[in-house]
């Protein structure tokens, strides 16, 4: 069973990568780009009895240290 964690910097936290990507792309021909945030995409393949168990597990892994709650937020998604 596969799950994806989408991890992004919290909105109030400075997103240094997002800032650099946004300014660079918008000056190089993509001025339609208004905002950009760069985070992590983690695919976890877990062995679980059912989807809800798997989801729980994925969350537990995230909480164990795959994201930093002081500066990041995350969502889980079943793939």
């Amino acid at each position: 069973m596969k799950f994806a964690l989408k991890i992004l910097p919290k909105p109030e936290v400075l997103d240094t990568q997002g800032r650099a990507v946004q300014t660079t792309l918008s000056t190089h021909g993509f001025n339609e780009l208004k905002d950009c945030h760069v985070g992590k995409y983690i695919v976890l393949e877990v062995e679980a009895a059912d989807e809800s168990k798997g989801l729980e597990m994925a969350k537990a892994m995230a909480e164990k240290g795959l994201y930093n709650p002081l500066i990041e937020k995350y969502e889980v998604e079943a793939l």
């Binding site: 109030e12 936290v13 400075l14 240094t16 500066i71």
Partner: protein, 718 residues
């Protein structure tokens, strides 16, 4: 909110509140609370330490700028000068180790280039708890990654460091960073006095966010309690932005476009604007609504207190503003005029055409409280019985235990993660006891850190003295003359007399040594309240010294380079400590030090000259674990062994001795006779891979494995 709650939230005590009312002639209102809270904080006002810092030895012929500016400056002659300073980022690093340490590096670099100097070196002084303490592995990893992440990216080499482990740091780690900047011919020194009525106040760099806004300051009536997003936000450092800021700021300074400049550090815009105005005895208008914001919903109080990184405030003549702006634009940065210098000595805070308040910077800055905290006179411990003599209890096999311990083992894991050569001027890196940067003039600039917490625990006065003497001797052992000092005084709660007593005693020890060695303290920082649940850290007045050497030729190595060379020990002073090993083994230690510092300094100076004049291949100060350990470390690099015959103790710690290896023993012995110094031959360097001490012989390969395996053993997985 009643008054009591408010005072608590803004961390202002009742007496201070009375003083504020006296100053204002009324009760403080609105943002005034935040301004007093910030500027009267321990961090900004030095209220517990100022009376003692005033006593510090801080001048010499070479000192161009001492306390009072962003960093101190020393004249090196030949049109070269250096600015340097050290600062703590202990608490933020404990909360978020990567960003805490990274922003610590960013902050200290800004202090340096604000003065007009190009940063050329970094050094870091770290204290961690026991490896098995909760979160410790994560803290070590995060701090080291953070320092490397920022320093490497911004392009300033890390040349030196020191790392200590002790249980007193389990819940209060220390992260102190030092930066050194260079002025070459024609580089202006820029100061922070606002000047010139009608000049513009210009905001440069990153936009302001809610980063680091104090919990305390969040309490103003204008905020609703429930708002999650208004909680203090972790400050994020952007070394890439900092690099742009360095280049652009140095360029506008060189083009003479700035009247005054100041970085926005602790308490952000508030402290920078008030201090600039205060120093220049002028006033400023500040249109807070013109400050570039990351989040448009920010309120004036948050803008005033934000500690967003990579921002500067500068004063510029209106006619030069366009030129200034275009330099920043070239580097991709915004420069925005947010106010004006005015004659009336007040800070006028304006928000959408409405004056929020007018406050006199003199009243707030100069009238900040100062406390003479209680302390007791220091009683030096009398340990006259402790002698420099071989101990019955010594077991030479313990050398393996020392080398395999995290305290005595390699720190390579740390400095491999630091770029030590960017800038192409590194002559000695972190592997050497002192870092050396090659100056354009061809001379060498030595950088070294001091303060050994185990000595502090034995005696705070001697520990303070040692924070200067030990690094000064390390410099001398490579032929460098110590020129000046910066410090970072990390202590527990100053309201406790026992902590304050240690503070005063160690400062006195430092000061006496600075006078004797003529290494004035020209910049620094005090970090109190390193305490959790009533448990404070070992007193840790870390220091950074810079030294100068006339050239880079024949600089001694710190490891043996040639078989057959004689091993000599040069004695400077007669002090003795039971050393670090005794503390680890028995939990405590003793020290006997009763030296005439003037003599110690003279002897050190003689050693420096000898290193420059006499044939010498390697030198190394005998360190915390004693002679046996120091010799072993000198063997590793080239796999050369030693044969030692001596009746010296193996693990006691001398204050002080220096090991010298030379092909010309006679020259050194003659010198010792002439100069009246004690130099003893203890053995020779040999080809076979044995570490031999009298009858005991240990395999060098085994010792090396102990040393190199120590890190993984203590911190597996890192």
């Amino acid at each position: 909110m009643n008054l009591e709650e408010k005072l608590k939230l803004y961390r202002i005590n009742p007496k201070e509140y009375e003083k504020i009312k006296e100053i204002l002639g009324r009760e403080p209102e609105g943002v005034e609370w935040a301004v007093f809270s910030a500027l009267w904080s321990e961090h900004c006002s030095y209220k517990s330490s100022k009376v003692h810092l005033k006593k510090l030895f801080s001048e010499s012929e070479r000192v161009l700028q001492s306390f009072g500016e962003n960093a101190g400056i020393v004249d090196l002659g030949e049109e070269e000068k250096v600015a340097f300073k050290m600062e703590s980022h202990n608490h933020p690093s404990f909360i978020e180790p990567y960003q805490g340490a990274a922003t610590g590096v960013g902050g200290i670099l800004r202090d340096i280039f604000t003065m007009g100097a190009r940063p050329i070196a970094l050094a870091n002084y770290l204290c961690f708890g026991e490896p098995e303490a909760p979160r410790m592995k994560e803290l070590v990893d995060g701090v080291v990654r953070g320092i490397g992440g920022y320093g490497n990216c911004v392009g300033v080499p890390n040349l030196s460091g020191q790392t200590n482990f002790h249980k007193s740091y389990n819940e209060n780690i220390l992260v102190n960073a030092m930066a050194v900047g260079l002025f070459t011919e024609g580089d202006p020194i820029c100061l922070s006095q606002a000047q010139g009525v009608g000049n513009l106040v210009v905001y440069v760099g990153a936009k302001t966010g809610r980063d680091g806004v104090h919990g305390a300051s969040m309490a103003s009536e204008s905020f609703d309690e429930d708002s999650e997003s208004k909680r203090p936000t972790v400050q994020i450092g952007d070394p890439f932005y900092e690099k742009l800021l360095i280049e652009s700021c140095l360029e506008v300074m060189k083009k003479d476009l700035v009247v005054a400049i100041q970085d926005m550090g602790a308490a952000g815009l508030t402290s920078s604007s008030f201090e600039m105005a205060d120093k220049g005895s002028v006033g400023l208008t500040l249109h807070l609504d013109k400050v570039p914001l990351r989040d448009e919903t920010m309120e004036p109080e948050e803008i005033l207190l934000s500690e967003s990184q990579e921002r500067m405030l500068l004063i510029c003549e209106p006619s030069r503003f366009d030129e200034l702006k275009s330099v920043f634009e070239h580097w991709g940065l915004d420069a925005v005029s947010v106010g004006e210098v005015i004659e009336e000595p007040v800070i006028r805070l304006i928000w959408k055409n409405e004056t929020l308040t007018e406050m006199s910077p003199k009243d707030v800055v100069d009238n900040a409280p100062q406390y003479e905290r209680d302390y007791n006179p220091w009683k030096r411990k009398d340990n006259k019985n402790l002698k420099w003599a071989s101990q019955d209890s010594e077991n030479l096999e313990d050398l393996k235990k020392i080398l395999s311990s995290h305290q005595g083992g390699t720190k390579e894991w740390i400095y491999r993660q630091y770029d030590q050569r960017v800038g192409a001027s590194t002559a000695r890196d972190c592997q050497s006891p002192i870092g050396v940067s090659a100056l354009p003039s061809g001379r060498g600039l030595g950088i070294v850190l001091g303060c050994r917490p185990h000595i502090m625990r034995q005696d705070a006065w001697v520990g303070g003295m040692d924070s200067i003497a030990y690094p000064a001797i390390e410099l001398a052992a490579k032929g460098f003359e110590a020129l000046a000092t910066t410090d970072c005084l990390n202590f527990g709660n100053p309201e406790k007399p026992e902590v304050m007593s240690e503070f005063v005693a160690s400062l006195d020890g430092m000061n006496k040594a600075c006078e004797a060695f003529v290494t004035p303290i020209i910049s620094g920082n005090v970090s109190f309240y390193n305490e959790t649940l009533d448990k404070g850290i070992s007193p840790t007045p870390s220091t950074g010294l810079v030294g100068l050497r006339p050239d880079l030729k024949n600089m001694p190595e710190s490891f043996f380079t040639k078989e057959g060379e004689s091993l000599l020990v040069v004695q400077l002073g007669e002090g003795v400590s039971t050393g670090y090993w005794s503390e680890i083994k028995k939990g405590s230690g003793e020290i006997n030090f009763d030296e005439d510092l003037k003599t110690l300094s003279l002897q050190t100076n003689k050693l420096m000259n000898a290193v420059l004049d006499l044939p010498v291949s390697s030198t190394r100060i005998v360190s915390s674990f004693g002679l046996a350990y120091t010799l072993a470390k000198m063997c590793f690099e080239k796999d050369l062994g030693v044969e030692v015959e001596t009746d010296a103790p193996a693990f006691l710690e001398p204050l002080y001795q220096v090991v010298v290896s030379t092909s010309n023993e006679k020259a050194w012995m003659d010198w010792a006779g002439e100069q009246g110094l004690k130099v003893e031959k203890i053995g020779r360097v040999c080809q076979n891979k044995q570490w031999k001490w009298n009858e005991t012989s240990l395999s060098l390969d085994e010792l090396k494995d102990c040393y190199n395996g120590s890190w993984q053993k203590a911190l597996p997985g890192l």
